[in-house]
Symmetry: C2
Subunit: 128 residues, 2 copies
């Protein structure tokens, strides 16, 4: 069955979709109120191959320093961030419209830059 | 190896990314100049699980009437379109920020509405 999620009223500079639960995304040290996660296409949509999530990180916040076996695709919707990538800790500044592909097992962390929340779409394999 | 595609100068109201080839996407009857496709994450990025593409359809244009075994995830970046879906030809008007999940084997077609190009991200399984 098809699903259409329509945009809702934004909150704290973060995007929302009608009927999609907002989950706190609280890696250690980020502050529990500094990041949220919304699953736009996932298990509820019976999507067997890929999932699509939206993450928003408030100014001063960051995502956890992650290393997953699976890969990630990222599309930046708003704001700016510093992306730390790989075991050599390479740093990149990323902003709206950037597309990033992070292969499996690559260490990665996003830290919001500036005064606006940083928001991005994240694609991952459904099996992970 | 990670990939970052940065936005480039837009053309004809369509988004562009630096170094990403623009391909004509010319389903029958859409007019060869009315739709383009850019692969943002695909075989060139060695992405084994999912691919991410951007499609843009000029006013008056449409995508082909497609039915694929695989599923699609769609995120609308700009413009408006009529989405015809399923064998019963259900119609939905979609616009910026809408998220659509189209299961495998579902018939679908996007037709641009209004005077602006319609542009969307499309996620598909890498194996299809």
């Amino acid at each position: 069955m098809k699903i259409i999620h329509r945009p809702g009223q934004s909150e704290n500079g973060e995007l929302r979709w009608q009927g999609v639960p907002v989950r706190a995304y609280g890696p250690e040290n980020s502050g529990a109120d500094r990041a949220t996660r919304q699953v736009l296409i996932g298990a509820d949509e019976n999507s067997p191959h890929f999932h699509l999530r939206y993450f928003a990180v408030q100014p001063g916040g960051h995502t956890s320093l992650d290393q997953h076996a699976h890969d990630h695709g990222v599309y930046v919707l708003h704001g700016r961030a510093r992306l730390c990538l790989g075991s050599s800790n390479d740093e990149y500044e990323i902003s709206m419209g950037d597309v990033i592909y992070i292969p499996g097992n690559e260490i990665h962390q996003f830290s919001t830059l500036g005064d606006e929340p940083f928001g991005f779409l994240c694609i991952v394999p459904a099996q992970r």
